[in-house]
């Protein structure tokens, strides 16, 4: 049974230094990306300073989608092999993904308002983001409301697979719908004529966010395994004592 994920207090410094290193590196990367986003990259011609939000808006989406990808794959793995580790990855991916998606959803309107005068547009991407946000929020609520034990991971995994089938259809339908209601596209796409310094800022931000996401997912994964182990130990204790 896995006991290696609990690190005892007297563990040698060497063991615990690797995560610390990764965290420091990510923080450094975030700071560098911040500098580039705010100062290093040139100000955009038409939109002005507010455009700099782009350097957080896009990477947040990318991080979210990647985390959700982890959730999807882990959920399939769980149903195939009933591995508790797979389930831990699944819940970690969903939670962290939802957090990043929230950032994406909040930065969107903040950007849109000064640029187009409206908080919300039924732009294809924003709409899809909203739909996905609602989906993964419901996933977390399902987990919250089902009892722990073998039931929660199974139902959650089934739901995650439904999402995996749903999201491509969502994408298609929302895109078609958006073509019927033309609205300003939020940005011309990350590859449409970005000045080189802007590209650098974007890539740095992408890297920083991805690292941050990876660390957060990993931490949440470990926490989930610990939580499951604690529950198990509690059960055994309850049986052993009297």
């Amino acid at each position: 049974m896995p006991s290696s994920f609990a690190s005892p207090p007297d563990a040698p410094a060497r063991e615990s230094s690797r995560p610390q290193l990764a965290i420091l590196a990510t923080l450094a990367l975030l700071l560098i990306a911040l500098y580039w986003a705010l100062i290093g990259a040139p100000t955009e011609a038409t939109m002005g300073t507010i455009q700099r939000i782009f350097y957080y808006h896009v990477p947040a989406a990318f991080a979210a989608w990647t985390a959700f990808g982890v959730n999807a794959i882990a959920s399939i793995a769980y149903l195939a092999r009933r591995s508790l580790k797979a389930d831990a990855w699944a819940v970690a991916g969903a939670e962290v993904g939802l957090a990043f998606l929230t950032i994406n959803l909040i930065t969107g309107p903040i950007w849109a308002r000064p640029v187009w005068g409206v908080w919300w547009v039924w732009d294809a991407r924003l709409t899809l983001t909203l739909a996905m946000w609602v989906m993964y929020a419901s996933y977390l609520i399902l987990r919250q409301l089902t009892p722990e034990g073998s039931l929660q991971p199974r139902l959650a995994a089934a739901l995650a697979i439904f999402f995996a089938a749903d999201i491509p259809i969502d994408y298609m339908s929302i895109r078609w719908w958006a073509t019927q209601h033309p609205s300003p596209v939020l940005f011309g796409g990350p590859d449409s004529g970005l000045a080189p310094r802007m590209l650098v800022a974007l890539l740095l931000s992408l890297a920083a966010f991805t690292c941050l996401m990876a660390i957060l997912v990993w931490m949440r994964y470990r926490q989930q395994l610990a939580r499951v182990e604690i529950t198990r130990l509690r059960q055994r204790l309850a049986l052993a004592e009297e």
Partner: protein
């Protein structure tokens, strides 16, 4: 194939139970009626509104009715723990869940049959409405709601806050289908425009999610 017999047996049994529990059917029917009536008050229903937003209004009303009917899909098994009985048999979960899809589908359709004429009257559906299209959309859309709704109804049996969980699970996943239903209905209500894309989407959605629900039926039925 015995699965087919199980499917029919479950379907027949569910319908029989609903018909005998007449007070449930009555209450559901009245609920559906109320929804439309209140909506017509709340939205100041008139022809202009229906031309702009009729599709959405109709389907929100249908959704309310569907949620009530779907909740009963597994709620009616709680008496005498009859769901446990199903689990002790060798019947395949897919056949059982499939039977419940079908019975929910028919029940929701029955409710919508009450709602649709009411809507047409209270909301002054335009004379140019292509009703065959509205009905086709109704069938395809209800199939989508019934399929996923039955599956999530089974899921919520195991959870706390059962009544709340069903809509929380069903609505997000149904977003593309709802989009399609509403848009298609709107097109048919206005008498002009083409809704083929939406209908095709619905057909695809229905097939994919029915198959998915059947394939994963065991996950949702297994533990009590």
């Amino acid at each position: 194939m015995n699965d087919w017999r199980v499917f029919l047996a479950v379907l027949r049994r569910d319908l029989r139970i609903e018909l005998r529990t007449r007070e449930a059917m009555l209450a559901m029917g009245f609920y559906a009626l109320l929804v439309i009536v209140i909506f017509s008050f709340a939205f100041n229903a008139d022809a202009a509104l229906t031309a702009r937003a009729g599709g959405g209004l109709l389907w929100v009303a249908f959704l309310f009715a569907a949620l009530v009917a779907l909740d009963r899909a597994f709620l009616r098994e709680s008496a005498e723990a009859s769901l446990t009985g199903l689990q002790t048999t060798p019947a395949s979960p897919a056949a059982i869940v499939g039977g419940k899809f079908a019975s929910s589908f028919l029940l929701i359709l029955a409710l919508e049959a009450v709602l649709l004429p009411l809507f047409a009257v209270l909301f002054n559906a335009p004379p140019a409405t292509r009703w065959w299209g509205v009905i086709a959309t109704m069938l395809l859309g209800t199939w989508a709601l019934a399929a996923n709704g039955t599956y999530f109804s089974a899921m919520s049996v195991h959870a706390r806050q059962r009544g709340l969980l069903l809509p929380l699970l069903l609505l997000p996943v149904s977003i593309p289908a709802i989009l399609a239903m509403v848009q298609a209905t709107q097109v048919y209500l206005s008498g002009a425009g083409v809704a083929n894309y939406w209908l095709k989407l619905l057909v695809g959605y229905d097939i994919i999610f029915t198959l998915l629900g059947l394939a994963l039926a065991e996950v949702v039925l297994a533990v009590e």
